[in-house]
């Protein structure tokens, strides 16, 4: 009986020390994770400062900037138009089905337009652009990094931030609000089409209520948000590309991280921007 107690005690001590070691290792790993994330955040802020400094201190690179606007803005239109249009359509159908129960059919117009201008337009456009453009930026810059093209550029006295990051940054900050405006328009227009021509809502009431409850503030709020989203996507994708690890695996990881981190940043930042804008630009 005494032996059993001794062995039981030893087993308990061993189990406790094992558990304690496990906890210590987990804490250590968490600590390293937090330090790594903070380091990355710091590096990203330094890159942002470098981009701002270069934008205002160096001669503008119009050719590269227009080229990026074409690739980032013009070539993203199809994706954005389809996203905006079908979101507006499905939103109109869903709201109609609910509002029809309480005889508020004509509220579909303002609900669709306010949702498209304040939230759905900027967020969905940013998410689509993060997937399409953010991935392309990270993959292109990552490949340039691992094939020594960035080193080659630096060796010729040209800063990659100046030649590569700034044009993409400007193109996204200008291009994303324009794409967002396009998504808003097609979302509202397709919502109108579905509401009036498919659900049978009276056209005059639909439009009248939409104008009555949608203001320029709603549009401005969405467009200003999209400027911030463009900045976040450009910064994160550029950072991930510039810091891609060696080899195809490194570029692949950088591309995935650029899309995931950009998308999450857009969603999280949207909440905080909404709270801030509700104070600055009240509904």
């Amino acid at each position: 009986m005494r032996d059993v107690c001794v062995y039981g005690g030893l087993a308990t001590v061993w189990a406790l020390s094992y558990a304690a070691r496990g906890i210590m290792e987990t804490v250590q790993r968490f600590r390293q994770f937090v330090i790594g994330q903070l380091n990355q955040l710091g590096s990203m802020l330094l890159l942002l400062l470098d981009i701002f400094k270069t934008t205002f201190s160096k001669r503008p690179r119009w050719r590269e900037t227009v080229d990026q606007m074409y690739k980032i803005g013009w070539q993203s239109q199809a994706v954005v138009v389809v996203t905006g249009a079908f979101t507006g359509m499905v939103f109109a159908v869903q709201t109609y089905l609910q509002f029809h129960k309480v005889k508020m059919d004509t509220a579909v117009g303002p609900v669709v337009s306010v949702a498209m201008t304040r939230e759905l337009g900027p967020v969905l456009t940013a998410l689509m652009v993060a997937g399409r453009v953010g991935a392309a930026i990270a993959a292109e810059l990552g490949t340039m990094k691992v094939t020594e093209q960035l080193d080659s550029m630096r060796s010729m006295g040209t800063a990659p931030v100046d030649y590569l990051a700034v044009p993409r940054f400007i193109a996204l900050m200008v291009g994303l609000p324009l794409l967002t405006a396009e998504a808003m328009f097609f979302g509202i227009f397709s919502g109108y089409f579905v509401g009036v021509h498919m659900c049978g809502i009276d056209q005059a009431y639909f439009l009248n209520h939409m104008y009555q409850f949608t203001s320029a503030k709603d549009v401005a709020s969405g467009l200003i948000k999209s400027v911030f989203f463009g900045m976040f996507i450009a910064l994160i994708s550029t950072y991930k590309g510039f810091n891609a690890a060696e080899g195809a695996e490194g570029v692949g990881r950088a591309t995935t991280e650029a899309v995931v981190v950009s998308s999450l940043t857009v969603l999280i930042a949207n909440f905080f921007l909404t709270v801030v804008f509700s104070k600055i630009i009240p509904v």
Partner: protein, 255 residues
């Protein structure tokens, strides 16, 4: 003149350079030889400030470049032309645009003059017909030649060659060697090449230095290196797997 003094560099705790000292005199071609992964390319990247040393100094024309910021390094870097191992041509540009890049970035020359100089450089490397092609459409040898044209087009004072003949067949490698010599004679440049191709080293070098164990192990003219009895140098230039001493060769080996 470029002076390297007591250069140290580590990556993730692994010490690659452990106190490298040497000088490159004006007008000479110095070839650094050494085993793969021995830090030759790392050393080369320190010369134009692409990498920063952990300790030691890199002095280019009397200027210690380590304390300089990226923007302060720009005038120093413009003295260099660098031929990277894989060419490092910009994928999104044609051969012509790649070679024109350093001239356009200087923003001093008019476009007709840039065109003239780029075409001249492409003629030297026999790539004028491929000027509108993208790097992906070129063979390995053509990429190296295009990269050589880009490294030389702005008439740099120093040219750095990172493995200029690696991955090329012997005929093409010899053609690249000839181009390196031609560049030296025409532009009177000072050159540093890192390679493990001894045929190339003997042909283009005024002096050869061997990087071994993170330090410069031996320096000499090609003839001196060929005649050396140093076992480490002999092992490298003979390409044998085991170190052999002059006395022991044929009887026993020292590993």
């Amino acid at each position: 003149m470029i002076q390297i003094q007591d250069l140290h560099k580590s990556f993730d705790g692994a010490e690659v350079l452990r106190g490298v000292d040497f000088e490159i005199h004006d007008g000479e071609t110095l070839v650094i030889i050494g085993r793969s992964g021995g830090g030759k390319s790392v050393l080369l990247k320190h010369l134009c400030g692409l990498l920063r040393p952990d300790a030691g100094r890199v002095i280019v024309d009397g200027v210690d470049i380590d304390p300089l910021s990226e923007s302060e390094l720009t005038p120093i870097r413009k003295k260099f032309g660098v031929l990277f191992q894989g060419g490092a041509l910009f994928d999104s540009m044609t051969v012509f645009e790649n070679v024109a890049f350093p001239l356009r970035e200087e923003r001093k020359l008019e476009e007709p003059e840039i065109t003239r100089r780029v075409e001249q450089a492409l003629t030297v490397v026999d790539l004028l017909k491929a000027k509108d092609k993208k790097p992906a459409e070129l063979s390995g040898g053509m990429r190296k030649r295009a990269a050589l044209a880009r490294a030389c087009v702005a008439n740099p004072k120093y040219i750095l060659y990172d493995e200029p003949t690696t991955g090329l067949d012997p005929v093409l490698a010899d053609h690249i060697n000839d181009l390196v010599l031609q560049t030296r004679d025409q532009l009177h440049v000072t050159s540093l090449a890192v390679t493990h191709d001894m045929t190339s080293a003997y042909k283009i070098a005024d002096r050869i230095a061997m990087l071994h164990d993170g330090r410069i192990h031996a320096v000499g003219t090609p003839k001196e290196i060929q005649a050396t009895t140093d076992p480490i140098v002999r092992q490298f230039i003979m390409g044998t797997a085991e170190i052999q001493t002059e006395v022991q060769r044929g009887t026993e080996t020292v590993s």
